[in-house]
Symmetry: C2
Subunit: 195 residues, 2 copies
Amino acid sequence: MEPCRLASELAVGERASLSHTVSELEFALFAAATGDLNPIHFDRSYAEATFFKGTIAHGMLCAGLISSLIGGRLPGVGTIYVTQTLRFLRPVRAGDGLTVAVEVLEVDVPRNLVRLRTTCTNAAGGVVVDGEALVEPPKKRPSQELARAMESRTKRLEEALSRAVSAFASDLRRWEEGEEHPEGTPPGGNVSDAA
Amino acid sequence: MEPCRLASELAVGERASLSHTVSELEFALFAAATGDLNPIHFDRSYAEATFFKGTIAHGMLCAGLISSLIGGRLPGVGTIYVTQTLRFLRPVRAGDGLTVAVEVLEVDVPRNLVRLRTTCTNAAGGVVVDGEALVEPPKKRPSQELARAMESRTKRLEEALSRAVSAFASDLRRWEEGEEHPEGTPPGGNVSDAA
């Protein structure tokens, strides 16, 4: 786990960022989490005929990356989300390498509030999502003992999630192979089982 | 697939809503999609000692439900997200039954822009997330033929996702059983394999 920062330790202009390449597997996991199966994210023949000329990521997937950076790094664990604004400026496609960044715009120590600029930028330097977050940083740091225990539990969760994602991906891959060669499957039949 | 609505067909005050009970499985899927493994969502002993007195959902999971309703129902398929504001007002816990609602606040037909109020409310009537979205509704409706083909592909994706989620959940459950009875597992050992 990354360390957390208290309001009194944050300075205007301080930044944190993460790099992440989004994948179709993440679109599927996000859809499974939220129920958002919009064809713009999955249906290639539909999406290619739209303004976007192909499938795109859920906008809120980028918002989830921003939230992850705020809660994991700056200010970090213990941060409470108050507000977030989001402007969706460009589409994000599977394979796009994103840089997600937060920058401290304002620190109000007495009210324990921090305002952050939040951006996602693609590899070509185009801002895909920007906005601002208002958050309450943690009021105290966890003890070293608690921090170690949390880190160890998070590591175990990470390993377990990684195995569960493999199971999810392998199940879904059988279905995708069926979708790419639908002539071999009965109309309306169970595509995954046919693969 | 639900029908989509063009700007000229929308009236101020028109609403759409969906009901959804959030689950720990969705927290895990959301974490797998976004990399957000913050202990407030997963680590019970940590979370119980915080202001929230227990684990809570990712705020952006609710934002994902709002986005799903906008893109799937009002205005529906073909909608382009321009902006979203989010105020996180109350925590959401696993098992909470949420009502996600959008209401048309303003329609600008010449500029093809629609402003929506967006809210998530819990079973006790408390607003957990509110905000506003600015969206571009679709400029035309898909042909009946395309709509039928999309519906059929979305249904197959839904079935495939449902099977993939079962595989994910079953893998994760073995790990959770290990976490609940850690005395039977070697320190630092592979908890999932021990279950």
